[in-house]
C-alpha cells in the first residue's frame, strides 16, 4: 500500500500525543505564529495563502486567500473571523478529530488568519452535539491565553485577539455560512440572500471571514513550509495540499485518512480503506458528503480533486466518502437522504420548503411498493424546479441523490414500481418516523 505522509494528522499520529499546548509546542507548534506576528505584514500573509492554492475544506472549495482578500482594507470598524466547526454534512467526521486531537493546530491557524484580516474577535461556531469538542477547545483557549498567544498584546507585538466558543443547537443549515451568521446573532438559522457577501456585510453587518476547521488547520503549515511547497503538493494544478477524507459505509477500514489530493478513488477505497466489506462488489459511492451526486464503479479512476470530481458530475464537497456494496437499494438510500434533507430544510425558500416533503413522499411511495411509473418523471420535474431556485446551495444538494440515482440506476426505480415492492429487502423497510418536539 502506498503510504502518504500526513500533514494535519501528523501530530496526533504520534503515540502519546495529547493535543495539549506543551505537546503542540514540542512538535514546533506556534512557530508559524511567531514568524508572522509583527514581522510579516497582513497583506503579505494573504498573498502567501493565495499563492499556496489552499481552497476551503468545508465543501465549496473557494480559494482561501482570495476570500481573505475581499475584506475591505480601509473599513474603520470591527471585522470578524469565524471558524466553521458545525460539521454536519452526513458522511463527514474529520473536523471532530482535528479539533479534539490537535486543537492548537486549528487555533494557531485562526490567530494567523485573524491577523491577516485584522480581526480582533473570532468565534468558533461548533455544532451543539460536540460537547466534548467544545470542552477541549475551551481548555485549549485557556492554555493559549496563559501562554500569551491570545489576549490584548499577543507575544508582545500589540496585536489583540479574543476567541470564543459558540455552540450551535442542532440545525444542519447553520453550516451554510450566512445561516451560521444569523444563528450566531441569536436568530433562526436562515441563509441570507447574497450579495452583499459576508466579506463586507457579515456578522453584525461587519466584514467577516468564515473558514472551515480543516482549512484553518492548514495555515500554520503554509507559513512554516512556504506557499511554494504547499502549492507543489496534492494536485498542483488547482487542488493543492492534502485532505482528510472520511471513509464510511461498506469498507473494511472506515475512518479518517489524510492523502494528497489527486489520488484515484480506486486507491482510496480498495487500498487505503481496505476494500469492500466481505469482498462484495462495489455498487455506488458518494464522493463528498450527502450533498454530492452518487458515482458508480465506472468512476473509480476519477481522482480526488475538486475539478475531476466535478467533471464526473459530482463534487468533492466535504470529503465524506460513503461506499455502498452490491445489494444496497438505491431508492432506499435516496429516500434516507431525502428524509434528512426534508428534516433540515430551513423553510425560507418555497421550492425547497414545499419540494422536499413532496420528493420524500414520492420516494417513500416507490420504496414501499406503492409507486407509479409517472412518479419518476414527477421526481425529475420537481428536482428541476428546485435546482438554482433557492437562496443557498441546499436546494441543489437535496436533489443530487435523486437525479444521480435516477441517472445511474433508473432500472431499479422501475423495478420497484413494476413489482410494487423493494426488490432488495426481504421484508418491507420500516416506515421512517418523524419525531416532533
Amino acid at each position: 500500500m502506498a503510504t502518504h505522509e500526513p500533514l494535519l494528522l501528523k501530530n496526533m499520529s504520534q503515540p502519546g500525543y495529547t493535543g495539549s499546548l506543551a505537546d503542540y509546542e514540542r512538535t514546533g507548534g506556534y512557530q508559524a505564529l511567531k514568524k508572522v506576528l509583527g514581522k510579516i505584514p497582513p497583506a503579505e500573509i494573504i498573498e502567501m495563502v493565495k499563492k499556496s492554492g489552499l481552497r476551503g475544506r468545508g465543501g465549496a472549495g473557494f480559494p482561501t486567500g482570495v476570500k481573505w482578500s475581499f475584506i475591505p482594507k480601509d473599513h474603520p470598524g470591527p471585522r470578524y473571523l469565524i471558524c466553521n466547526a458545525d460539521e454536519s454534512e452526513p458522511g463527514t467526521f474529520k473536523d471532530r478529530q482535528l479539533m479534539e486531537r490537535d486543537p492548537h493546530q486549528m487555533l494557531e491557524g485562526m490567530i494567523i488568519a485573524a491577523y491577516a484580516i485584522s480581526a480582533h474577535t473570532a468565534y468558533i461556531y461548533i455544532r451543539g452535539e460536540f460537547v466534548l469538542g467544545a470542552r477541549i477547545l475551551e481548555r485549549a483557549l485557556e492554555e493559549a491565553y496563559q501562554a500569551g498567544y491570545l489576549g490584548s498584546n499577543i507575544l508582545g507585538t500589540g496585536f489583540a485577539l479574543d476567541i470564543y466558543v459558540h455552540r450551535g443547537a442542532g440545525a444542519y443549515i447553520c453550516g451554510e455560512e450566512t445561516a451560521l451568521l444569523e444563528s450566531l446573532e441569536g436568530k433562526r438559522g436562515l441563509p441570507r440572500t447574497k450579495p452583499p457577501f459576508p466579506a463586507t456585510h457579515g456578522l453584525f453587518q461587519k466584514p467577516t471571514v468564515v473558514n472551515n476547521v480543516e482549512t484553518l488547520a492548514n495555515v500554520p503549515h503554509i507559513v512554516n513550509r512556504g506557499p511554494e511547497w504547499f502549492a507543489s503538493t496534492g494536485n498542483p494544478l488547482k487542488s493543492t495540499g492534502t485532505r482528510v477524507f472520511c471513509m464510511s459505509g461498506h469498507v473494511k477500514r472506515p475512518g479518517n485518512y489524510e492523502v494528497p489530493m489527486g489520488i484515484p478513488f480506486r486507491e482510496m477505497i480498495y487500498d487505503i480503506a481496505g476494500g469492500m466489506r466481505g469482498d462484495k462488489p462495489l455498487k455506488a459511492f458518494i464522493p463528498g458528503g450527502a450533498s454530492a451526486a452518487f458515482l458508480t464503479p465506472a468512476h473509480l479512476d476519477v481522482t480526488l480533486d475538486f475539478e475531476s470530481v466535478a467533471q464526473a458530475g459530482s463534487m468533492l464537497g466535504s470529503g465524506g466518502i460513503t461506499v455502498m456494496e452490491e445489494g444496497t437499494c438505491m431508492v432506499w438510500a435516496a429516500e434516507n437522504l431525502l428524509y434528512f434533507f426534508n428534516h433540515e430544510s430551513c423553510g425560507k425558500c418555497t421550492p425547497c420548503r414545499e419540494g422536499s416533503p413532496w420528493l420524500l413522499q414520492i420516494l417513500s411511495r416507490i420504496e414501499h411498493g406503492k409507486g407509479k411509473m409517472d412518479d419518476l418523471a414527477t421526481l425529475l420535474r420537481l428536482c428541476g424546479n428546485i435546482a438554482g431556485r433557492t437562496v443557498c446551495a441546499f436546494g441543489d444538494a437535496e436533489i443530487a441523490p435523486i437525479t444521480s440515482t435516477l441517472r445511474h440506476f433508473r432500472d431499479e426505480y422501475e423495478a420497484h414500481v413494476r413489482e410494487q415492492r423493494c426488490p432488495f429487502r426481504p421484508q418491507p423497510a420500516p416506515e421512517l418516523i418523524t419525531v416532533g418536539h
Binding site: F93, H166, R167, A171, S248, V435
Partner: protein
C-alpha cells in the same frame, strides 16, 4: 420576579453576554444554560432570557423552535439519540433501535416509565465511520453491538456514567507498532 437560573448560573450570565457586541447573540448560549439547569427550556426561562437580552418572548420562541436540541418539555434523565442518517443506516442503525428496545422497552419518541431513558432518532452526528452509534446526553457511544448497548444502559442506570463513552476522537485508532 424570582429567576429560574441558579445563583451559580446567574453569575455566568454577564460574562456570556460580554462576548458579543450585540446582546441578542447571547441567545443560544443562554438557552443552553437554561437547559443545563432544568433539562429543558421552559416558557418561564424563555421569558426571562427575553428580558435579559431586550428581546420579545416570541423572538426567543421562534429561535427555540428552530433548533432541534432544545427540549421544550421535560424528557428522561438519559436522552438516547440514535443517528438514522444513511451512513449509520448502511451499517446497522435498525439493529441498534431493536437492541435498545430489547433492553429498556422503548421505541423512538418514548420514555421509560421510570423516567430514566428517552429515545430519539436524530440526523448525522459526524460519526459515520464508527456506526452504528448513539449519543446519550453529552457522550458519544460508537461501533455499537448488542453487548455494548446492554452494558452502556446498565452502567448509566447504576452509575450515571459509562466508560465506553468516546474520548477525544480518532479513527482508525493508533495501533501499537
Amino acid at each position: 420576579m424570582s429567576s429560574m437560573f441558579s445563583k451559580a448560573a446567574q453569575e455566568r450570565i454577564p460574562g456570556i453576554i460580554a462576548r458579543y457586541p450585540e446582546k441578542r447573540a447571547a441567545l443560544l448560549p443562554l438557552l443552553w444554560l437554561a437547559q443545563e439547569e432544568q433539562g429543558y427550556v421552559s416558557e418561564e426561562a424563555m421569558k426571562e432570557i427575553a428580558g435579559l437580552l431586550n428581546l420579545t418572548p416570541p423572538q426567543v420562541y421562534e429561535a427555540v423552535t428552530f433548533y432541534t436540541m432544545y427540549n421544550r418539555r421535560p424528557i428522561g434523565k438519559y436522552h438516547i439519540q440514535v443517528c438514522r442518517s444513511l451512513m449509520c443506516a448502511l451499517v446497522g442503525m435498525e439493529n441498534l433501535l431493536g437492541w435498545i428496545h430489547d433492553k429498556v422497552g422503548i421505541k423512538v419518541g418514548q420514555t421509560t416509565p421510570d423516567g430514566l431513558f428517552t429515545l430519539s432518532q436524530v440526523e448525522c452526528l459526524a460519526s459515520c465511520g464508527t456506526g452504528p452509534m448513539m449519543q446519550v446526553n453529552d457522550d458519544y457511544y460508537e461501533r455499537l453491538t448488542q453487548d455494548k448497548v446492554n452494558r452502556i444502559l446498565d452502567d448509566l442506570k447504576r452509575d450515571g456514567k459509562c466508560p465506553l463513552a468516546t474520548g477525544p476522537f480518532m479513527f482508525p485508532e493508533l495501533t501499537a507498532k
